[in-house]
Symmetry: C2
Subunit: 290 residues, 2 copies
């Protein structure tokens, strides 16, 4: 595995792959890799000749009250994991390399962002759009892989690729879960013991909502109520949101006759956890986006 830190060197390597007609799968990360990231890399490896992964903690997507400096980093462990998982090129640029001067061009998104986690992170997705556009131009991948755990991010990347005709395919892969069903997250280690036992009920609550849909219930309010009651019954933490929206448009629906997302976020003492299901209108879980 090559570890590349310079944009120019990365571009040269990509140019070489293009001349060899090699399909490139790309996984963009902020590092501190866990099983979720590795699944993306494994799938990219299956479907492409070359896998490029990037590790870049993007200052542009952190708000003024979000701690860019304190974001967890472990380059040594990440490098070992990426290599073991079959990544061919690991791109780890510095902030200076990615943003050599103040940006003149600004990218923003007007929809799909004022719901779910977007409420509490204004401007976050603008920074995501910008860094992904830069990375997509440097890596020029055939397919890009994102986890459906961050389903809102997948919806935003979908808009980016569609609206601006990026010549690449978006793949959204299912959330990786612990044995009991809890969505894997680097934040799970911040749960107290009783919180960890309770946390699985976010997922179980979503499944209870799905059950209603499977039985033919098309009223979003009733499904949200079912999830809310299930979560509240078993969890001491505080619900941030439980929402049901069309997917990927992320608009409110009055009745479920299209693909939807059923999503929840819960505050525990020192961790805010999120989870979601993407559902066919017949209630079946959609595990791969595109």
């Amino acid at each position: 595995m090559q570890v590349i830190r310079s944009v120019n060197t990365m571009s040269e390597i990509i140019q070489k792959y293009h001349l060899q007609h090699k399909q490139i799968g790309f996984v963009a990360t902020m590092g501190f890799l866990h099983e979720g990231h590795l699944q993306l890399m494994k799938e990219a490896k299956k479907e492409n000749a070359i896998v490029v992964a990037s590790i870049f903690v993007n200052p542009l997507q952190f708000g003024p009250n979000e701690d860019f400096e304190k974001y967890p980093r472990d380059e040594q462990s990440d490098t070992l994991l990426a290599e073991k998982t079959g990544v061919d090129v690991l791109f780890i640029p510095t902030v200076k390399e990615m943003y050599p001067h103040a940006m003149l061009i600004h990218m923003s998104i007007r929809e799909r962002v004022n719901v779910l986690c977007g409420h509490s992170r204004p401007g976050h997705f603008d920074g995501v759009l910008t860094v992904l556009t830069k990375l997509f131009h440097i890596i020029r991948p055939t397919k890009v892989y994102f986890g459906l755990k961050d389903a809102q991010q997948v919806a935003v990347v979908d808009a980016l690729i569609q609206d601006l005709n990026f010549p690449m395919e978006l793949v959204g892969l299912p959330t990786v879960r612990e044995k009991d069903g809890l969505a894997k997250s680097s934040r799970n280690v911040n749960l107290k013991e009783h919180e960890r036992r309770e946390a699985v009920w976010i997922y179980k609550g979503l499944l209870a909502g799905q059950q209603l849909l499977l039985k033919g219930e098309g009223n979003p309010a009733l499904i949200i109520k079912e999830v809310t009651q299930t979560v509240e019954k078993h969890i001491s933490g505080k619900i941030d949101y439980i929402e049901l929206l069309s997917y990927p448009a992320l608009k409110p629906v009055s009745t479920i006759n299209q693909q939807v997302i059923l999503a929840a976020a819960v505050y525990f003492d020192e961790a805010r956890l999120i989870d979601n299901l993407i559902l066919h209108p017949n209630g079946k879980i959609i595990n791969r986006y595109n």
Copy 2:
């Protein structure tokens, strides 16, 4: 020459060229082609295996008071001219093809735009950025060609390509002029006879300013004064602006020790004409950008 109207077909053709390792030169136009456009195509032909040109009157770059509908169009003549000039593929998408639904992603530029022609066209360059990003992704050119007559547009495209790491090279080519020196423009036909005789003094005024710089004058105010006096002496129209700015940053300079643009815009009765010189700090004219 192939004439292509569908984004998908265009993408397929480009993919074929990429697999053949063919360098692609791209000229984006709004049609109603004149000698200025054809020069771009000729240069693109010299430097690339394939030349793609596009004709698309982009609604996004027209303000509410600018008449998108009345923009001159002549597809039949354009097609003949493009073919004669050596264009391999002429891309003429419809508005629906380029903007199948309302855009969710918004692009904007914060600098380089509140000077020169940007004053009078707020939001214009945001629309330019968006359509060019889309076209660049569809055509995936090796080199893109723009005329330095629209030097501000070249500066904006330069920012776009640099900031977002577009994998392509920007080429700015010199303004094409009538025999007497007047910059070629489709608007020249709207000049009255005496205005046409006067109009060359925009160019001559800029050259008078350049003379001062060649003689060692480094004070922008004195150079602007020289241009203003020359233009006012010979032209009955009204000066919109005469500006001297760093180029491509388009920032005011207190003394000329870097590449600059000396630019003028003049209102005649039924035409507003623009012209400019890009100048080395020693006063020599720079004819090719990049």
